[in-house]
């Protein structure tokens, strides 16, 4: 019993810092609807700034003063980020800001490396709080007790702020109804900035407060962000009490998991999230998202049309050129192009459900990596000929998409996105931990193509035919009744249902088709690289695809493909440089600000302006 109590205390101590960070994220989402993936970066900044201040300021006052100042400093940085990066793009399409925050992550990572160097910093001890107290005979670190004791005050402080102050009234009003805040005569822009600064400050405080239990390092940002999102989603996006309950729940379950199921550490919280979302689709205390509440901001998508004669001729010409590429290009350019085509198909498959279907998936890599693994497992364990194993890539990915889609499709918006994320994490952990079959992160290696495809040139044609074929097929489907039905369900689910369209079923089928296509890309990937590792199933892989789709332009048909091409080239070029992440982050932010409709969308608008036509009439 004493042991159990001590475990509970450990969980509660962990929860306090997590709750601080999560409450910031939840506040920011609730008011601004920004899915702020850079939140972990503010947490990391809090840790580094805190360490630096504590080195300068000695004693009790120095320690606690440093924590206070850290929050203020990070809040200020948050405000600057909001004003410079996010404010220009609030009118951009749903979740577009997410891409910008990803750029912010990259910039902050490199700036932190530049300022603080690469070495990990051990957090300073809180003065007078080194060592333990014994509670029922069990040792409990003093600082844990202080953290636990502080949490109710933090909760109370936030509660007071939200329910008893004018700022709180505005925040709640904005969470309920964004338009209303304008009606209250409040400058919405500054409210957003203020809330973003407050949320960032909370992350900064969380980073500084955890210092005596850990330290500051360059991996903190990615390490915490997953946990924080899980907490916020389990609690219900935008709900502070929900975030608190979820922080405690996850922390305590983690402690129990460590003791009784030690190898569960990677997936436990994602399992909890999946279960909660399946039972309660809007989290524990979240409210239903009103359809269209934060969807389809900005100009509506223009009607689509297949290319006319000229367009088709241009495409045919380009295909011929690509077919002739091996005559002039060197080996590496062919390989770069193979990578580009594979990534383009992967991105196009995500774009299919995201752009055409309005389903934002955070876990699309499960199908890309799943397809790659399916083929690789057959080759590795059964020496299956490549020709057959390859077919299993799209097949297995499609089946996986059917399974995952069955659970996810009933959810909407951010919750849908997070459930796909949870499932992709489960798939990832399967590949990562089931070493007997998957070899864990040692990966499956020596998965090379069959003899007649083993040369770069034959494999180039193989990729060209299947990859371009897949992309063209998806385009064709978008123009077919199925694609129209999918779009109808996105534009107005109510109207679609009222004309006999089973929206969920259409989306389910589209999700599966996207899975098949991602799996096809995964199959081409694994045989071009000769190996596959769990990295292909990681969150980062899903986000790569997500980002290129947004960069290319969600509301355009070529967005995914163009974004993928753009990113492959930019990355290939930038990673040669010392601070490439900083530059890549700045490029992403610049694209987001300059071209809020994405690359293709903005080019199209510019073209339309140049031609002097409004985008009212569709070209026949």
């Amino acid at each position: 019993m004493a042991f159990f109590f001590a475990q509970l205390l450990t969980g509660l101590a962990n929860a306090s810092s997590l709750f601080l960070v999560a409450s910031g994220l939840s506040l920011i989402f609730g008011v601004t609807r920004i899915v702020n993936f850079a939140h972990g970066s503010f947490y990391m900044l809090g840790a580094f700034i805190g360490v630096t201040l504590m080195e300068v300021l000695p004693g009790h006052f120095g320690f606690w003063g440093s924590i206070l100042l850290t929050g203020l400093a990070v809040g200020l940085i948050g405000a600057i980020v909001e004003i410079v990066v996010l404010r220009p793009i609030y009118r951009a399409p749903e979740l577009f800001q997410l891409v910008a925050t990803f750029g912010v992550i990259l910039v902050i990572q490199d700036l932190t490396l530049m300022i603080w160097g690469a070495e990990d910093r051990l957090g300073p001890r809180a003065p007078g709080l080194r060592g333990i107290w014994r509670i029922f005979g069990e040792p409990v670190p003093k600082y844990d007790i202080v953290l636990i004791a502080m949490t109710p005050f933090i909760l109370f402080g936030l509660w007071y702020l939200i329910t008893r102050t004018r700022l709180g009234v505005l925040v709640r009003a904005a969470t309920q109804d964004r338009e209303m805040v304008g009606a209250l005569g409040v400058n919405q822009a500054w409210l957003f900035t203020g809330v973003f600064a407050l949320g960032s400050a909370l992350a900064g405080w969380g980073g500084a407060l955890q210092l005596p239990k850990g330290g500051a390092d360059l991996l903190m940002d990615f390490n915490i962000i997953g946990t924080i999102f899980v907490i916020v989603v389990i609690g219900g996006m935008g709900s502070l009490p929900g975030a608190f309950i979820a922080a405690v729940l996850i922390s305590v379950l983690n402690v129990l998991g460590v003791t009784y199921l030690p190898s569960s550490t990677l997936v436990l919280m994602f399992v909890v999230m999946a279960v909660v979302l399946i039972i309660r689709p809007y989290g524990l205390l979240g409210r239903e998202e009103v359809a269209g509440e934060h969807g389809q901001v900005g100009a509506p998508e223009t009607p689509i049309r297949p290319y006319g004669r000229l367009g088709q001729a241009v495409i045919a010409g380009l295909l011929v050129l690509m077919a002739l590429l091996p005559l002039v290009a060197d080996q590496f350019l062919l390989i770069l192009t193979i990578d580009m085509i594979v990534f383009a198909l992967f991105a196009a498959s995500l774009h299919f459900i995201l752009g055409t279907g309005g389903l934002v998936s955070f876990g699309h890599a499960a199908f890309f990596g799943g397809g790659a693994y399916a083929a690789a497992l057959l080759v590795y364990h059964f020496d299956t000929p490549m020709e057959i194993a390859f077919l299993f890539a799209p097949l297995a990915a499609g089946l996986l998409a059917l399974g995952i889609g069955w659970f996810c499709i009933r959810l909407t918006g951010v919750y849908f996105a997070m459930l796909t994320l949870a499932f992709s994490q489960l798939v990832w952990s399967l590949a990562y931990q089931w070493r007997a079959v998957t070899r864990g992160d040692d990966g499956l290696i020596s998965i090379w193509p069959t003899d007649w495809l083993s040369g770069t040139v034959p494999y180039y044609y193989f990729t060209l035919i299947l990859g371009v074929g897949g992309i063209l097929f998806l385009r064709h489907v978008i123009h077919a009744p199925f694609g129209y039905a999918l779009r109808a369900g996105r534009d107005s689910p109510r109207q679609a249902e009222a004309m006999g369209i089973d929206v969920k079923r259409i989306q389910f089928a589209a999700f599966a088709l996207a899975g098949v296509m991602a799996g096809l890309a995964g199959g081409m990937f694994v045989f071009s690289k000769g190996s596959v590792f769990p990295t292909e199933l990681e969150i980062a892989a899903s986000f790569d695809a997500l980002i290129v789709v947004f960069l290319g332009g969600v509301k355009t048909l070529a967005g995914g493909v163009v974004g993928a091409g753009f990113m492959t080239v930019v990355e290939d070029w930038l990673t040669r440089l010392e601070y490439w992440r900083l530059l890549l982050g700045l490029v992403i932010i610049a694209v987001v600000i300059i071209a809020p409709e994405g690359i293709v969308g903005s080019i199209r608008s510019a073209w339309a302006r140049y031609r002097g036509t409004g985008d009212e009439e569709v070209a026949k």
Binding site: T10, K213, P262, G440, F525, K529, V600
Partner: protein, 402 residues
């Protein structure tokens, strides 16, 4: 339009890259692929070690009377990315061979790639045993003493004590799992009555140290085998120290004594742990080990890490192989590497075994102590891998037919 833009971009990329691919072969180039960003703390000293070696080698006339050059590229910690870069280094940059990688998965990917395309890959830092054993191939050589060897050295020491009940804690990925398995196998062989009462698997760089410490304490072990490193180690040491987990218990720490991981612990370095590491501060004047340390500190202005030594030895291994081969052709290089002997390195003579392409680099073992508010290894000893390796028959069994 889709294809239009892709083509334009591809063409643009070709143009953008073209100037880089200056093919004038005035130097011998080695392609080096590593995780300079995501694991900068480990990769930077390694790079400086290489640069120091190159300075010395080229001051001495280079190799085959040509300047030796390393082309450093960042792989973002992604095996697929690493393979693309490897291809570019070999076909565009004119690299004659590949080296690098700290992460085992990238090392394995490069190894498989090298075998398929018939390139030469010297795995400098990755520790995975399978690189030269279970997944070994003729095109891959490895410098550093692998997980098995280092774990076996610790197990040997553990077997000398009375401890019977062991707890293990290792990051939840291949390296951690291999290390625990190797430690268990070696220890059980040496001391059949040992019992493993707890196995903890925290997520890599995301340890919940308080909970892990409680869980280990609950199993009441006599001794603990630690594989965590980096921030995980710092948190474990702090929580475990506060809660008295290590009091009266022997602890064996894989890599814990390496400056990369020991230095950040400062005055909280856990005294009494038996560890593998790199006691650069303990070398005596006049030894080649000390000479390297001095040269490195002169060159970089920093104290050396184990990565510095590995980088230095990597460059010298490659230089020696090229000289030996008398050519930069892959086939000749592979032949040169097999059984290659490099005398007078900081760790004495370094050679590459013919049986499994593994080098004879060993490891330093010793006990942690605190001196002037910093952790150091005392009573340390350099051990060569001899006697810790599986038998030749076992290795032949594991290694796919060459």
């Amino acid at each position: 339009m889709t294809l239009t833009r892709r083509m334009i971009l591809a063409a643009a990329s070709a143009l953008a890259i073209a100037p880089v691919a200056a093919s004038a072969q005035d130097t011998i180039k080695v392609g080096e692929i590593n995780h300079y960003k995501r694991m900068a703390a480990f990769a930077e000293p390694y790079r400086k070690g290489i640069e120091l070696a190159l300075e010395e080698i080229n001051a001495d006339g280079g190799v085959l009377d040509t300047e030796l050059e390393f082309v450093f590229r960042d792989d973002q910690g992604d095996p697929a990315e690493a393979i693309r870069i490897a291809e570019e280094l070999m076909t565009r940059e004119g690299a004659v061979m590949l080296t690098g990688s700290i992460l085992s998965n990238v090392g394995l990917a490069l190894s498989s790639f090298a075998a398929e395309k018939d390139y030469l890959y010297l795995a400098a830092e990755p520790l995975a045993d399978s690189l030269v054993w279970g997944s070994g191939n003729p095109n891959t050589f490895r410098l550093r003493a692998s997980t098995w060897i280092q774990a076996a050295m610790l197990a040997e020491e553990a077997a000398k004590t009375d401890a019977v009940k062991y707890a293990t804690i290792a990051p939840n990925y291949a390296y951690g799992q291999d290390a625990v398995a190797a430690f268990k196998e070696n220890l059980t062989r040496l001391k059949p009555d040992v019992e493993f009462v707890a196995e903890q698997w925290p997520a890599l760089f995301n340890i919940d140290a308080g909970a892990e410490v409680q869980a280990i304490e609950r199993s009441k072990p006599d001794a603990i085998f630690n594989v965590t490193f980096g921030t995980d180690l710092a948190r474990l040491v702090r929580e475990g120290g506060d809660r008295g987990l290590f009091d009266g218990r022997d602890v064996y720490g894989l890599l814990t004594g390496e400056p990369e991981y020991l230095d950040p612990l400062g005055d909280e370095a856990p005294e009494g742990w038996f560890v593998t590491g790199y006691p650069w501060y303990g070398f005596e004047d006049g030894t080649p080990e000390k000479a390297f340390v001095d040269a490195y500190m002169d060159y970089s202005g920093e104290t050396p890490k184990i990565g510095s030594l590995v980088g230095y030895l990597t460059a010298y291994s490659i230089a020696a192989a090229i000289e030996e081969a008398g050519s930069t052709e892959t086939e000749a290089l592979i032949e040169a590497f097999e059984g290659l002997e490099i005398p007078d390195t900081p760790i004495g003579t370094l050679s590459y075994r013919e049986i499994d392409n593994q080098s004879t680099m060993g490891a330093y073992v010793g006990t942690l102590a605190l001196e002037d508010g910093a952790g150091v290894m005392v009573d340390w000893e350099y051990k060569t891998p001899d006697g810790y390796m599986p038998s030749d028959e076992e290795i032949m069994e594991m290694r796919p037919a060459d």
